[in-house]
Amino acid sequence: MKFTFNVSPNLRQGQSTKRIMFELMLGLAVVYLFSLFYYFSEYGASYALQAVLLLFVALIVALVTESVFALVLKKDMKQYLSGSFGWITAIILTMMCKIDITPYALGVATFFSIFFGKLLFGGFGNNIFNPAAFGRAVIFNAFIGATTNVVTSATPLTILGTNFSWMPGTEKAIQSMMDSVGGITTLFTGWYPGAIGETSALLIIIVGIVLSIRHVIDWRVPTVYLISIFVLTAAVALLCGIDSYNGLPGFIWYPCVHVLSGGVVFGAVFMLTDPVTSPTSAQGRTLFALGAAIITVLIRLKANMPEGCLYSILIMNMLTPLIESAMDGKQLVVRIRARKAFAGLAAIGLALVLLAASVVTPVNEDPTTSATNETMYDQLINNQSVERGGSL
């Protein structure tokens, strides 16, 4: 009997990795085009051109890095490039950045994500971390202040994370918070400044559904991830007694804001589903998504950065081998074990999130109008850490 050994993703049916990646690229292109349209109609042609330039730089850097690596290793370049899918990383990375990032910063981050994040681990299929998330983390840590004069207003994520600590205490604060982010409908359609590709929750969800039907991505991961975030934040809203807004009770609108803002939907559809860095079994993937959801909410509520989606992905990438080995064995035994693990993890996560939420001080005043907070707001805007609010 002959065994074949391949690195993941291992596929059944009539699919090939190439076809999957091609369809994923089409999905990304749809979201990207929407974003171009938004910047074109809202800010003018120069902004759209800037977005195109960023994508172009990332693609060129990715291809050059991989070609040079293939040359040094004396491999067949064409075959190596077509099997390495560096352009997917480049596209995802570009779409996770805010439009005011310098092309230089994006280029360096792309190099890091391709070279250190992927090629040094052994190329496509052997990388531990999602290369695009790795590149975004490089930008977080190295180029916080590297912005061009292409300016957009503060993103909802920045406002929510920095001014309101994700925790408005009074009705007035809620009203001002929702006014400054533009309401739930705006968050849903994505007509607001943010990272290039991750604003439109509606479009990303549609693309995600199409991709799931075509078996390009696993529907379980985004579904479990988004529902878990919804449930966890709903529990937080109930515990902290967050008031209703426009007639919607707190445990409905508050989770909606959590799910729709920032890079959560984008990360759920395009990054957590990465077949290389997520577990292979269905049970493993549900656990993976649940863990990521818990970490996202925890980072949002308690850490000193506004968004947690990116680091939750990276942390869960690290735990993937652990999940794989835990979900290995006889099928029936594994199924029971997976249920127990899921219930246990959910209980622990809920307890942790509620504990974290109980120690966050709610913002009772309206930070955008009151005089003392005005200066604080300005300071925060000037503070470089605000730039982190851009995306994921």
Partner: protein
């Protein structure tokens, strides 16, 4: 001839940092600036030579069973002397190196050379070995700190260690807009370290293959 070979071993073939992977802790931590690297290098060279000489002198009277404690006591005493000297004469270096000066005691290079070389060889040989290894360590951390400093701040900056206000030279190589501050963080340290170690392994591999080919041709 043999003496010369022993002396030069520390630079590439048996470079303590990139080839033997000794003393990584201080290497990763203090290579953020050229000043730190040179100060640390000089301190390590001094301790290494003195400890090698002392241990070599005492090798005949040291009972084998308690040799490690004896080495540690000698090294710790020397490090304390060096630490006090640095504190007295180079205050700014003392503050920027911080806890890593006392930690020279547990730097594996020093104990490693005492155990592997000084306890078996004569005084002069041991002193030379200490100097060679110390210079190898210093070269390694200087190269690393240069790379990290240039990438993270865009310039090479060196001040007089005895007077922090006196800047000896300062050149800007990369414009301020293009620096990668990541390299002053731990990630940058690991990244640089791994790349340099890999480069050295590749070089040694290449040399070994060349040697092999030459030997084959000679046959």
């Amino acid at each position: 001839m043999d003496r010369k070979k022993n002396f030069t071993a520390g630079f590439l073939r048996e470079n303590p940092v990139f080839s033997l992977y000794l003393g990584c802790c201080s290497t990763l931590a203090i290579t953020t600036s050229l000043n730190n690297a040179i100060g640390m290098g000089v301190a390590v060279i001094a301790v290494l030579i003195l400890s090698n000489v002392l241990i070599s002198l005492m090798r005949k009277i040291t009972p084998n069973e308690i040799r490690i404690p004896v080495y540690i006591v000698i090294i710790a005493a020397l490090v304390k002397v060096i630490q006090m000297l640095i504190q007295a004469y180079a205050q700014s270096l003392y503050t920027s190196l911080g806890t890593f000066i006392p930690l020279i005691v547990v730097n594996c290079i020093i104990l490693g050379r005492a155990e592997a070389f000084a306890s078996k060889n004569g005084v002069l040989d041991s002193a030379l070995d200490g100097l060679g290894m110390g210079l190898g360590y210093t070269c390694a951390i200087i190269v690393m700190s240069l790379i990290r400093e240039i990438l993270a701040t865009g310039m090479i900056h060196f001040t007089n260690p005895f007077d922090a206000a006196q800047v000896l030279f300062e050149i800007r190589l990369i414009p301020e807009d293009f620096v990668i501050s990541l390299f002053s963080q731990p990630f940058g340290a690991f990244c640089t370290f791994a790349c340099l170690a890999a480069a050295l392994v590749a070089y040694k591999d290449h040399q070994a293959k060349k040697q092999e080919r030459l030997e084959k041709e000679a046959k």
